[in-house]
Every structure is written in structure tokens, then in C-alpha cells.
């Protein structure tokens, strides 16, 4: 696990330095300073260079034992991935299926994978809560949530 942590640190540092260099490069093509005063690129240029320097210092700072995180279990990874994928799939599905059906699916999947609830209970709760959210936010707080492109669902306002 220690080896993996060192890899994570090195990859993170490389990504941050690359990000800083890209920002500094973009900022250098903006106005830095003119007769009118500071330009758009001054603040990001200084900050990106600072971030790059700080990242390099961090990279070469010895790792203390207290900094090394505990390892992840396979089940733990699966649960984290479920949460993440349910949001990612919501981004993809919501414009087509609408808010109600997508959120119902997300709640159902999270409950089944992370809580191992009974399918009937999970489905019932997912349907009730997504409809509840729709009523609260769309009807109660006047927030326009995405409506399904499927004719049947859109005709129901879902």
C-alpha cells in the first residue's frame, strides 16, 4: 500500500505541475501589465507559478507515516464507484428520461448496492422520494427540473 501511495503522490504532483504550466502558458498570452495597470494574466500567472513551486516542494518532502491512508477494500471501491457512477449516469440520462425517472433509478441503485435493501422496498422508496422531490422543488419552489423526452412521461409532467 505504501508503494501505491507513493505512486498516487507522484502522479498527483505531476498532474498539478502540468496543470500549473498549462495555466501559466495561457496566462502569459494575456495582458500582464499595461499603462492602464495590471492585466488579466497577472494574477493567474503568479498563482500558477506559485502552485508549481509548492507542488515540487511537496513532491520532495518526505512522507510521514500518519499521511499514508488506509487501503481500500474491494467492497469499499464498489460502493464509492456506485455513488460516482449514479451521478455520472444521471448527467447522461436526465436530459432523455427526465428528473423523476433518473433520480428514481439513482436512489434505487445506491440503496441496492450500498445497503443491500429488499428490491421492493428500495423501488417503493425510490419512487416515492423522487416524486416527493419533484413536488417540493418544481411545484413548491418553482425550480424547473428536466422533463423526459419520452412522450408518455412528458405528458405526465415527469
Amino acid at each position: 500500500m505504501r508503494l501505491r501511495f507513493h505512486w498516487l503522490k507522484s502522479i498527483s504532483a505531476a498532474a498539478l505541475v502540468a496543470f500549473s504550466i498549462a495555466v501559466a502558458y495561457s496566462a502569459s498570452h494575456m495582458s500582464i501589465y499595461s499603462d492602464f495597470g495590471p492585466g488579466a494574466g497577472l494574477f493567474p500567472l503568479v498563482l500558477s507559478l506559485l502552485l508549481a513551486v509548492l507542488t515540487l516542494i511537496w513532491l520532495f518532502t518526505p512522507v510521514r507515516d500518519s499521511e499514508i491512508p488506509e487501503g481500500l477494500s474491494r467492497d469499499g471501491i464498489a460502493r464509492v464507484a456506485t455513488i460516482l457512477l449514479s451521478v455520472v449516469f444521471s448527467i447522461w440520462l436526465m436530459p432523455y428520461l427526465g428528473f423523476t425517472l433518473t433520480s428514481c433509478l439513482a436512489i434505487f441503485v445506491i440503496m441496492i448496492v450500498t445497503g443491500k435493501h429488499h428490491i421492493g422496498f428500495a423501488a417503493g422508496l425510490a419512487a416515492a422520494s423522487s416524486l416527493g422531490f419533484l413536488l417540493l422543488f418544481q411545484k413548491g419552489l418553482n425550480l424547473a427540473l428536466p422533463v423526459s423526452q419520452l412522450p408518455l412521461l412528458s405528458s405526465l409532467g415527469l
Partner: protein, 496 residues
């Protein structure tokens, strides 16, 4: 408009309702480990655009100080702090619960927290006009220097590694430059995405960094069945109340003054209060075994801290914690910049908000003492159900910010970054604070540089700027020496 006017406004039914909602939500996020006040505030921030601003600020502030109350319940009943500031309460609160005194511990905590909240509010009422009057003399260089000082202090106190805190601060300031630049309106890092022209909205970012990342971390280490201690007798004995009075006063004082320091988290006030109580107690051996002083002092300290930490925001426009940075955001999205001018230009908002703290603390007593059973029932709901519902609420909040799925994309991205930060022990607070304070800091810097064309060092001729800048440098030197262990070595050598 003054305090009496504010009190009259805060007592109107609609503002009382906002306070009830805020304190209730604060209690809820305090009770739920894995969901903090920052994520809850971010979740509700888009609603401030469609709700009354004063009512929204009353609600958001109530979430913040209410969460300090809620965190105690899990500390006492489960030995799991709902909030970091309640962690120290586990030491004596949980042993009290084991002895069948859970009700006493919770009631004492609620009473001293309400006392501390009320006293800290009186402190704000006294200090705010004085501080805002002083701040009115600040020009852009002083404001810039003050923001640098506050941000430096926050980074120095965040986490156990100064370098990581500085990295996150720099990253936050860098992310804050996304959007149109404040001088010429040049698009920066917008990649042609219209949603980015107004800058990177901190609502989905904060929900991702705090809410989604916290849920991912909590669900990764799923806990087993919750075993709660029963609440048999709710009222404390006269002896317990007597023993709590001194710690309540001392804790309130400690929390109030530490709350004024940017970056000083309520958990530090709780810890210092606990240490103070143990050192002045005639029964120090009882600490850790269920001493009521070990509950009363820290609980008073964290609530006093939460209330007083709003003072720098209201008078100087400086947020001291991520949740307060979001309250600053609520003001800003409604076109109001908190700071010294707030008392002059919008007294109807500010005095109503301050007066609502009195009402909020009374409401929290009601939420805590007669309704403690409600929170115990919520604790029995499986986390998988709560997290599923919270994830959907976050999707709604992120969507509402841009009225498009772009907000949800930001939420996922920030959630992944937050999870990565937790794996590498990066502190989240500096990033969020820098993201919120960044545009203000850049504006102050630009105005300052415009005041001294071609001679930026001229700013340092102003005594306050010089003092604050030297203070920032001293903090950086002290904490970098301390984080490398050289300071301790130096002190040891000196004493030898």
C-alpha cells in the same frame, strides 16, 4: 434600523420560519456523520435567489450554529462525533451515557450551547459597530493586506501540513480566476463555455468537495448496526447544573475570542476549553470518566465560536470558515458585499440577521430538549438510504445553479477532486475559502496597484498594510519552521 428594529423583523412569522428551518437543518446535518454544514449550506444556496435574502441568511447562519448542537447527540449516544467540534464531547459525554446519564449530558450541552450562543450574540452586537467603524477607514490596500493575512492564517491552521494548505489555497485562488477578468472583461480559462463566463460557481464545487466526497469516504468504510444508548432521564441534577456553570462561562469566552481568528476551527476552541477545564478542576481524575464539566466547557466553546466567527464576515467581509464563505456567497449572489458598509447601507438585513441568533438559540433548545427523540429516530435510518437521498438533493442543487447539467458535471468533478484530496490528506477549507475570497482579493489588488502606478511597494508605506503583511510573513515563517520540526529543535536548543 438598529437592534430593536432587527428584533422586530426577526420576530415576524416568515423569519421565525426561516430560523426554524435553519436550526432544524443544522441539527440534521450535525446528527448525520458524513454531511457537514458546508455541504448543506451549498445545497441551499441556489434557493437564496428565489427566497427573501434576509430570510435566507437567517436560515444559512442557523444551519451553521445549529450543526454545532446536533453534532453533540451522536457524540454522547454513539461515541461518534457528528461534527469535528463535538469530537471532544465524546470523551466525557459518552461515558455519561454509559452511566445512564445520556439525557443529562444532552440537556447540559443544549443549555450551555444556548447560553454561549446568546452571550456571543451580545458580543457581536457590542463589537460589530466598533469594528465596522474601524474598517470604514480601510482602502483597497488595507483590504488586500487583510485578506492576505486572513488567508495566510487560515492556511497555517488548516491541517497538519503547511505546504499542502498553501497548495490548496493557491489552487483555490487560481480556480477563482476563471471567468471574465475584473478590469478589462477578458475571458479567462472559459474554453468558450458560456456557463463559465460568470466564473466557477462555488455551489456545485463546495457540494462536491464537502458533500459528495464526504459521502464517498463514509460509504467506503460502511459502519455496522447503530447501537444507541437509551435516554432515561432528561433533566440534569442541581449538582450537575452547578458544576456546569463555570465551564460554560469559560468556554464561552474561549470560543468567542478564538472564533474571531480566521482559520481557527470550532474544534480547537472545544479542545482548549476541555484542557482549561481539566486544569482548573478540583476533580481532574473524573475527566474521561463522565465529568459533566468535560461536556459543558467544550460545548459552550464551540457554539460561542460558531456565533462569533460571523463577526469578521459581517464587519470586514472576511470569511473564517468554509460555511461562512458560503454565507458570504449568498450575500454576493444577491448583489451585496458584506463588510463595513453593510451596517450603513443594509441595516435592515444585518440587524435582523443578528437578532435572529437570539431566536435561533431558543429554537435550538426546543429542537434539543423536548425533541431529542426525533434525532434518535433519524440516527436509526440506514446510511445507505440517507446518502441516496442526499446525492439526489445535491444533483438538484447543482442543476439549479446553472439551470443545466453543467452544474452536475462540476459536482462530479469536484467530488472526485475532494475524494482525491482526502486520500492524500489535503485540507479542503483553504481551497474553498480561496475560491470564494479570490475575486475580492484580485479586485483589491488591482485597485491597490492602480493607486500606486509603477510603484507597488508604495502600498507598504501605509502602516496597517505593512503590519498585516509582516504579520502574514511571520505566520508563514513560524508555521513552516513548526511543520518541519525546526522550531521545536530551536526552542529545545535555546532552553538547553
Amino acid at each position: 434600523m438598529n437592534l430593536m428594529g432587527g428584533l422586530q423583523a426577526a420576530l415576524t412569522p416568515s423569519y421565525i420560519l426561516f430560523a426554524v428551518l435553519g436550526t432544524g437543518l443544522g441539527m440534521l446535518v450535525g446528527v448525520l456523520p458524513g454531511l457537514g454544514p458546508a455541504a448543506a449550506t451549498a445545497l441551499l444556496l441556489p434557493l437564496t435567489l428565489s427566497l427573501d435574502l434576509t430570510g435566507s441568511i437567517i436560515m444559512l447562519a442557523a444551519i451553521y450554529y445549529g450543526s454545532q448542537f446536533g453534532g453533540t447527540i451522536t457524540s454522547v449516544l454513539l461515541n461518534v462525533p457528528g461534527e469535528a467540534s463535538s469530537a471532544i464531547t465524546c470523551l466525557d459525554g459518552h461515558p455519561m451515557a454509559k452511566k445512564g446519564k445520556a439525557g443529562s449530558a444532552l440537556t447540559v450541552a443544549a443549555l450551555v450551547s444556548a447560553f454561549a450562543g446568546v452571550v456571543a450574540t451580545i458580543g457581536i452586537i457590542v463589537a460589530a459597530p466598533l469594528l465596522s467603524g474601524l474598517a470604514l477607514r480601510f482602502g483597497p490596500p488595507e483590504m488586500f493586506a487583510l485578506m492576505v493575512f486572513a488567508t495566510t492564517l487560515l492556511m497555517a491552521l488548516a491541517g497538519d501540513s503547511l505546504i499542502k494548505a498553501l497548495m490548496m489555497g493557491a489552487l483555490g485562488l487560481l480556480l477563482a480566476t476563471v471567468g471574465l477578468d475584473p478590469t478589462q472583461g477578458t475571458p479567462r480559462f472559459t474554453f468558450g463555455i458560456p456557463e463559465l463566463f460568470d466564473g466557477l460557481s462555488f455551489v456545485p464545487v463546495v457540494m462536491g468537495l464537502f458533500g459528495l466526497a464526504d459521502i464517498m469516504t463514509a460509504i467506503e468504510r460502511r459502519s455496522g448496526v447503530v447501537a444507541l444508548h437509551k435516554i432515561e432521564k432528561l433533566l440534569p441534577t442541581r449538582e450537575e447544573l452547578k458544576r456546569s456553570s463555570g465551564p460554560a462561562i469559560r468556554g464561552t469566552a474561549i470560543g468567542f475570542f478564538l472564533g474571531l481568528i480566521p482559520g481557527m476551527m470550532p474544534a480547537i476552541s472545544s479542545l482548549l476549553s476541555y484542557i482549561a477545564e481539566k486544569s482548573v478542576s478540583r476533580r481532574p481524575d473524573e475527566f474521561g470518566q463522565g465529568a459533566v464539566e468535560g461536556v459543558a466547557g467544550p460545548e459552550a466553546a464551540n457554539n460561542s465560536h460558531a456565533t462569533s466567527s460571523l463577526l469578521p464576515l459581517l464587519t470586514l467581509g472576511i470569511p473564517t470558515t468554509p460555511t461562512i464563505a458560503l454565507i458570504l456567497g449568498a450575500f454576493m449572489v444577491n448583489g451585496i458585499v458584506p463588510g463595513p458598509l453593510l451596517f450603513r447601507d443594509h441595516p435592515e438585513i444585518i440587524w435582523a440577521v443578528i437578532a435572529s441568533f437570539f431566536i435561533g438559540n431558543v429554537l435550538l433548545l426546543m429542537w434539543n430538549i423536548p425533541l431529542v427523540g426525533l434525532w434518535v429516530s433519524i440516527l436509526k435510518i440506514p446510511s445507505s438510504i440517507l446518502y441516496a437521498l442526499i446525492v439526489v438533493l445535491m444533483i438538484i442543487g447543482a442543476y439549479a445553479e446553472y439551470n443545466s447539467m453543467f452544474g452536475v458535471v462540476l459536482l462530479v468533478g469536484s467530488g472526485m477532486v475532494g475524494y482525491w484530496m482526502k486520500q492524500l490528506n489535503f485540507p479542503v477549507a483553504p481551497l474553498v475559502l480561496a475560491l470564494v475570497i479570490g475575486p475580492l482579493m484580485e479586485q483589491s489588488l488591482i485597485r491597490s496597484l492602480e493607486m500606486f502606478p509603477g510603484n507597488a511597494a508604495g502600498m507598504l508605506a501605509r502602516p496597517m498594510v505593512m503590519g498585516l503583511m509582516l504579520g502574514s510573513i511571520a505566520i508563514l515563517i513560524y508555521f513552516s519552521l513548526r511543520s518541519t520540526g525546526r522550531f521545536d529543535k530551536f526552542v529545545r536548543q535555546d532552553s538547553e
